[in-house]
């Protein structure tokens, strides 16, 4: 299977197994050139296995896979020169300095940027942006966990690859380092690099990714842009229950006024209402409150977020586990 120029990665019915356990159960993926694609998943969903397969670290047990037009496992020498990989866990020779580590990585690269005796601007710039410029003579073993993550990102990106895999790039970083990392990733995307990202921080995916897939139980549960993922999800209207109304009163009233939508009472006097048409529901709700002389305190309207989508998928997993 070869990719069309529009796609950096194409997978069809991709399967990976550990003995009898099938960790990835037939997924289809199409990642366009130049886009940032976030692969999210519940614990044990199979995203690390998927990433490792896309990176060429392991062979797919079924289906077809093409990365930059080649099989990433059997044609590793053709794929790797165009790919940068930031591993989930950093692995370095601790006794080397930061500069020696960067220089070694460049020397192992076929990129013209790795010419001997010259550290390319991309490396210098990335180290400056990720606050490692004053650590060049520090041995890697002496770096903090966050600094090692940043060094990892430098190595993955210094040769300006066409495709970059970022496996939880900001795990363990403080907010400032995370912001710097996001800036660098956005610059990469701006330069046309295709980026595949996994993260446990949903706001990271919301902020950075063009498209998002959420894996669950070895399959892709949902996939699309953020807008597409939350499109069919209800908007939440919440307010404090007027003291003169009981829970039963408000339940009855809202079913009549707003319609048969999900209604839940939280924290005693809090009311949360899931609606599909927020404008219509809010208009009716406020009209009803005005006409009945009720005052709705702390009223808020929140659009569905990635977190809601994720929670719904995770809840499905929990139900399945309970059934088992």
């Amino acid at each position: 299977m070869t990719t069309t120029p529009d796609f950096a990665i194409q997978a069809h019915d991709l399967r990976c197994a550990y003995g009898d356990f099938e960790a990835v159960r037939g997924i289809d993926l199409e990642i366009r050139s130049g886009e940032m694609f976030a692969l999210l998943g519940t614990n044990g969903a199979g995203k690390t296995t998927t990433m490792e397969t896309l990176e060429g670290h392991r062979r797919a047990d079924g289906g077809t896979l093409s990365v930059l037009g080649h099989d990433p496992y059997t044609e590793r020498p053709r794929v790797r020169p165009r790919v940068g990989i930031m591993l989930q866990e950093s692995g370095f020779a601790g006794e080397l300095t930061v500069a020696e580590t960067v220089d070694m990585w460049l020397a192992l690269s076929s990129s013209p940027l790795g010419e001997r005796g010259r550290r390319p601007d991309t490396a210098v710039e990335a180290m400056e942006r990720l606050d490692l410029a004053d650590r060049t003579d520090t041995r890697v073993v002496q770096l903090s966990g966050g600094q090692k993550r940043r060094l990892d990102l430098v190595l993955a990106t210094i040769t300006r690859p066409d495709l970059v895999f970022l496996d939880e790039p900001t795990t363990g970083l403080d907010p400032e380092s995370r912001r710097r990392t996001w800036d660098l990733i956005e610059t990469l995307r701006g330069s046309g690099t295709t980026i595949v990202l996994t993260t446990h921080y949903l706001e990271e995916a919301e902020r950075l990714a063009d498209r998002i897939a959420i894996m669950h139980a070895g399959r892709i549960a949902v996939e699309g842009t953020l807008a597409e993922l939350v499109h069919d999800r209800p908007t939440q209207i919440s307010f404090r229950r007027p003291a003169e109304l009981s829970s039963a009163d408000i339940d009855r009233a809202l079913r009549t006024v707003v319609g048969p939508q999900r209604l839940e009472t939280v924290a005693g006097d809090g009311v949360v209402l899931d609606v599909t048409d927020a404008q219509q529901a809010l208009g009716r709700l406020l009209g009803w409150a005005d006409s009945q002389g009720h005052r709705l305190e702390n009223i808020t309207v929140s659009q569905a977020s990635l977190s809601d989508v994720f929670a719904q998928i995770a809840a499905g997993q929990q139900k399945q586990e309970e059934l088992v």
Partner: protein, 239 residues
């Protein structure tokens, strides 16, 4: 990028790491000195004694400097995820294996050369056919490299390496000492026996073995180690 260039870069880095490890440097220096001292204090003379001491030198250097170090290096680099890091780049598997083992092999050769030069200076017995010593040294180093990687394949962590390296190490040393008593060509198929036969050929000492069976012995152990590594080697620790 060629495998040779990748190997050179990785080996240069590995050499740097060895040079920064004071314990390794200390033992690497002490070893040849201690062995030279052993030559000096022994009172046996003649080709038979020279062949015996040469066999011991080759076996000890290759099993300790190469076999044990390669096993420990491969296991600890895997544990540190350094191997996975290298494998996430452009380097081929062959370049990674060769790169992390080559400096150790060269260190071992250097140690042997130091001993040989010192012995030549002090007028020790000169081998009649010295190339057999070269064959013994290279064959033993290569088989120990392969067995080191093979042992690393079945060694889960650095602490376990202290135990998993014992059997083959004892096998190499034990077979060196046992061969003179066994008086059988079959001993050529052991790593130590093969070295003894080559050393005897070098000093023109009668031997039940032959260069062919000794070479076959070292090839067999090289193949065993290579096959173990091919089948069982993992690039990252078991989760």
């Amino acid at each position: 990028m060629s495998t040779a260039r990748q190997t050179k870069v990785i080996a240069r880095t590995e050499w740097k790491l060895i040079a920064r490890n004071k314990t390794v440097l200390f033992s690497a220096t002490l070893f040849p000195l201690a062995l030279t001292a052993l030559y000096l204090i022994q009172d046996a003379e003649g080709p038979m004694a020279a062949a015996g001491l040469t066999s011991i030198m080759v076996a000890i250097f290759s099993s300790m400097t190469v076999y044990m170090t390669v096993t420990l290096t491969a296991v600890s680099r895997r544990q540190d995820l350094y191997l996975k890091r290298l494998r996430s780049g452009e380097s081929s598997d062959v370049a990674i294996f060769a790169g992390i083992t080559l400096p150790t092999a060269l260190l071992c050769l250097a140690q042997m050369i130091v001993v040989v030069v010192v012995l030549a200076i002090i007028g020790f017995e000169v081998p009649v056919e010295p190339w057999w010593i070269v064959a013994a040294a290279l064959g033993s180093i290569v088989s120990c490299l392969a067995m080191g990687l093979g042992t690393a394949s079945v060694t889960p962590n650095a602490s376990a390496a202290q135990m998993t390296t014992v059997p083959y190490f004892l096998f190499v040393i034990g077979s060196v000492f046992a061969t003179p008593f066994a008086d059988s060509q079959l001993m050529d198929l052991t790593p130590g026996g093969a070295v003894v036969t080559f050393a005897r050929l070098a000093f023109d000492v009668p031997t039940p073995g032959s260069a062919l069976t000794a070479a076959a012995g070292l090839v067999i152990w090289t193949a065993v180690g290579t096959e173990m590594a091919r089948r069982f080697f993992r690039w990252e620790p078991r989760s």
